[in-house]
């Protein structure tokens, strides 16, 4: 009978330790809602439907990569007939998504995806909205 306080203290400690990640999450004010990605104001549609891009953008990018480098396919025709220049930096980022930090990294970090090695060679436009502004001004190539 004299062990009761010890047992309760041990139980409390155990529960506290097991639920530690929950408390940490609450303390860090994190939520299960993923990062909110801003859609570019001047474009209504990505090269493919949003749901497909969310799930399979990596496959599309790989297909673009192999097509452009190895098969001379420098243009991509979307389902709605729009023709895009195949270019990660020039089309995806400069025209719509801004920069790697603002777009790619936020989701990849949230989802715990190990960073893809695209950026070892491909360059990201500056993180400032200058890139997008340059497009609006017609300064993009």
């Amino acid at each position: 009978m004299g062990d009761r306080p010890l047992i309760y203290a041990g139980l409390f400690l155990f529960v506290a330790l097991v639920t530690l990640p929950v408390w940490q999450g609450i303390a860090a004010q994190s939520s299960t809602v993923g990062p909110e990605l801003k859609a570019p104001a001047h474009k209504k549609q990505c090269v493919a439907p949003r749901a497909y891009m969310r799930e399979a953008h990596m496959e599309l990018l790989m297909a673009w990569r192999d097509g452009k480098v190895r098969k001379h396919e420098r243009h991509y025709t979307a389902a709605d007939g729009t023709v895009y220049n195949v270019s990660l930096t020039g089309t995806c980022l400069t025209q719509c998504h801004g920069s790697k930090e603002k777009f790619c990294d936020r989701c990849h970090e949230y989802a715990g995806v190990s960073a893809p090695n695209c950026w070892g060679c491909h360059t990201s436009p500056p993180a400032e909205p200058g890139g997008v502004a340059a497009v609006a001004a017609g300064g993009m190539r």
Partner: protein
Amino acid sequence: MKLTRKDFLRVLAGSAVAVGAGTLVHAVGSANDKESAGSTVGKKRWGMAVDLRKCREEKGCDLCSRACHRTHNVPQIPDRAHEVKWLWNERHDKVFPFQQNDYTRQALGETVPILCNHCTNPACVRVCPTQATWKRTDGVVMMDYHRCIGCRYCMAACPYGSRSFNYVDPRPYLGTPNPDFPTRTTGVVEKCNFCEERLADGKQPACVEACPRNAMVFGDLNDGNSPIRQLLSGRYAVQRQPELGCGPSIFYLV
């Protein structure tokens, strides 16, 4: 000697295998020949002619090299052990080592712009284990940096030293990179791509455009009426070490 039925069948089978193997070897061999010689009708073969007389007159000029390296984000690494080059000036005796005589040696110090020869029979392509480098139908010897594993077989195979390896991260040596072309990363081999990204837009290579004397002429070697062919039929031109059998597409007008 009496031939048993068993021995007869054995000899017959052996002969069939021998004849079959011979036919197979012949077929494979002629297929290879067809691939390398090939029909040139309707097929492009990009090539370049460099007028060394004009280069001689503009001694010390490196505008072509600078334009190339700026366009393609080629780093300027001061350590010569790590340097990366696509198009550069090399000493005459290094470029044409077997064409020196007592009198041309006097011309030492004279330089020749050299770049990837975009060979018709490229040694680098044969040795690449991942097909990261291959020959396009238009004659450009391409590199796919995504596939390069950095084994450097191609560097060992290329008799012209046209390839460079990224021993260090090139980005700190770039200044302001050209946003229209990717950089490279540590551990891949790189070389001149004949400005394939500009060719796709219908433009001339950056070096050709940068030369104020038009010393470099670029065009289709399979087209008898192209300016490069006109030039080559009118003046004496040499290739670098043609005896090696690689078939360089860069010609030097001497």
